[in-house]
């Protein structure tokens, strides 16, 4: 049986036994190379599920859809390791009860599908520890280093050119599992801290604030980067900020469902070499 068949079987069993009321997985997309979120409630529909290397979306954001979890029934969800970390953060930030989530974990390694064992968030804690210890060097690392090697003026110009493209469609925010706020700060006009206009200044402010709010929370699933219709390399910023909280505070987001948010906690001996 192929890995995909095994997953379909497991999903069918979960639904048939009544353990979960719904499964959030991937189905066929509008083109052969696209996968899209699929919500199935019946074991018969398990055959519609796809599990393969093209399943790149982090579906965990759907878990906090209004009303989904309020009946206390369990929900099954297909997640890659980043998605599992997202679930940990959502739990740590009281957005969901991890006991309600049945994780159907999978990974994509070197372009091919690999099954993950376990179903509760704690089942994956050693996997996540391994991820922290062996943080891979993604392809964008070279670009990050290139940017860091620039003068501030060059860096500013680089980002100015990127942010000038932004159309404030907020796809980055809407696709992000961490952007569950009932009201985004940009939607607060009393006062209007962040310009809503999509001129470069407003775009700069928006992207900075979003990156700040994601610091120590982003799991680098790449969702925002893929969603951006004007191709702003958002992953670069998020990756850089993840590195910062790791270096400065030894914080790897989504380690566990009890992890303290990095900006709501502190250590007395946190680094402060920059403070005069």
């Amino acid at each position: 049986m192929s890995i995909q068949e095994q997953y379909r079987k497991r999903a069918a069993e979960l639904l048939a036994s009544g353990e979960v009321k719904i499964i959030i997985g991937y189905g066929a997309g509008s083109t052969p190379d696209r996968r899209r979120a699929l919500f199935i409630r019946s074991a018969d529909d398990a055959s519609l599920l796809h599990v393969d290397a093209a399943c790149d979306a982090n579906l965990s954001g759907y878990l906090v859809s209004e009303g989904l979890l309020s009946d206390r029934k369990k929900v099954g969800i297909f997640l890659r390791p980043e998605g599992i970390r997202s679930v940990n953060i959502l739990a740590a930030e009281s957005q969901l009860d991890p006991l309600q989530i049945v994780i159907i974990g999978f990974n994509v390694e070197n372009g091919s599908l690999a099954a993950l064992q376990g179903s509760g968030v704690n089942d994956f804690s050693s996997l996540i520890s391994t991820l922290k210890e062996s943080r891979s060097t993604p392809e964008e690392q070279a670009l990050i280093e290139k940017i860091e090697g620039m003068t501030p003026e060059e860096r500013f110009a680089f980002w100015q050119a990127e942010f000038s493209k932004c159309i404030k469609c907020y796809a980055c925010r809407q696709v992000c599992p961490m952007c569950y706020c009932k009201r985004c700060i940009v939607d607060n006009n009393q006062p209007q801290w962040v310009h809503t206009s999509s001129h470069t200044l407003g775009n700069f402010e928006w992207n900075l604030v979003r990156a700040f709010h994601l610091s120590g929370r982003c799991v680098e699933c790449g969702g925002c980067d893929r969603a951006c219709p004007v191709n702003i390399p958002l992953r670069l910023i998020n990756r850089r900020m993840a590195q910062e909280v790791l270096d400065a505070f030894d914080h790897f987001s989504g380690m566990s469902h009890t992890q303290e948010p990095v900006l709501a906690s502190f250590k007395k001996d946190d680094p402060e070499t920059f403070i005069l």
Binding site: G29, S30, T31, R34, R35, R36, A37, F39, A57, G61, Y62, E66, A161, E162, K165, I167, K168, C169, Y170, A171, R173, Q174, V175, D187, Q192, H195, T196, S197, S198, H199, G202, G223, R226, A227, P229, V230, N231
Partner: protein, 337 residues
């Protein structure tokens, strides 16, 4: 007698237009995005793409536009109006779907109050459209009863010739003729066989859809919830739609002075209909998606006898969760049968 514009004459044409004081604008790909931008040389144009990522409406209805500056004085508030710079422009290489969209929005911006900004730019712009000889799986102009060579909105329509050597010129309007009179000697008086048009299959039954949408019973159909379940409520489809035209006003400034701006808005955003009281009449994403479809294919045609969609397919092409108008209307077509 038909005329041909040869590709290798394009630089000369651009020079002539420049000399006549026209800005030349066309699809340009740079910095990982393709969009309409001013050009100096033909080489800057990207003819390799089916459609630029961003739409033609950017040129007439920019995403953010300053309308006036205000200065707050002790006794009164002074204002200073901002108008578009008022330059004559020629757009070279737009696609029929994008250009049709401008024609779709013309009545919208002019049915009551005539939008100064829109019409000033419309009258200052000559649009040279190139008919499509290729399409992708998202293109759907034919489903909207348009075609890869629809003339609506265009001043000139070009049909690509074999071997990429140039275009067969069709002058559609007075303004188009005027603009092309500037390049009189650069056109060949000849004829040729245009390349076959792109084949764009019809994907849904527009009339059946409209009928279904008009049936009040379907307004509360469970279908809307199901079809929009994965919608995340971003503005990608709106902002990359050539016909979407909703906007919002925003005052930006400090204590002493500021600017009132007109910004794009999207019916996909929860904030779009949020009342000050906190009540939101379209409180769910399914209601917002329904509104989008209803507006485009029921209310807008009801008022203007035009669909507020020209079939460019960007909504589906760019949707972060692989949704879009096509899928919804295909499902509605099924439901209506």
């Amino acid at each position: 007698m038909t005329k041909i514009l040869l590709r290798d004459r394009l630089d000369d044409c651009i020079s002539r237009w420049h000399a006549a004081g026209l800005d030349v604008i066309g699809p340009v790909s740079k910095n990982n995005i393709s969009q309409f931008d001013t050009i100096q040389k033909a080489g800057e144009l990207d003819f390799g793409i089916i459609l630029p990522d961003r739409t033609l409406k950017d040129l007439f209805f920019p995403q953010t536009e300053p309308m006036f500056r205000y200065r707050i004085g002790k006794q009164q508030i002074d204002t200073e109006e901002y108008l578009p710079p008022g330059r004559q422009r020629i757009v070279f290489g737009a696609r029929p779907c994008d250009v049709s969209a401008m024609a779709i929005d013309d009545p919208l911006f002019g049915w009551d109050y005539k939008d100064t900004y829109w019409f000033k730019r419309r009258t200052e712009t000559v649009i040279v459209t190139i008919a499509c000889t290729s399409a992708d799986e998202f293109c759907m102009c034919t489903s909207l009863k348009l075609a890869p060579d629809s003339p609506q909105g265009s001043d000139i329509l070009l049909r690509p010739l074999e071997g990429n050597r140039g275009w067969l010129v069709e002058e559609l309007t007075e303004r188009g003729r005027d603009a092309f009179s500037l390049i009189e000697g650069l056109l060949e008086n000849a004829t040729g066989d245009p390349l076959p048009l792109a084949v764009v299959p019809v994907k849904f039954d527009l009339d059946a859809c409209r009928e279904w949408l008009q049936n009040p019973e379907n307004f509360e159909s469970h279908f809307w919830k199901e079809i929009s379940m994965r919608c995340i409520g971003c503005g990608t489809c709106t902002f990359l739609c050539p016909t979407c035209h909703c906007f919002d006003f925003q005052d930006e400034g400090d204590t002493y002075t500021g600017i009132r701006r007109k910004n794009w808005d999207s019916c996909s955003f929860a904030l779009f209909t949020m009342h000050t009281s906190g009540h939101n009449p379209r409180s769910t994403q399914s209601a917002r998606w329904r509104q989008r479809i209803m507006h485009k294919f029921n209310y807008f045609p009801g008022k203007f006898s035009l669909n507020s969609c020209s079939g460019c397919g960007r909504c589906t092409r760019e949707c972060p969760v692989d949704m879009g108008i096509t899928e919804t209307l295909q499902e509605i077509t099924k439901l209506s049968k």
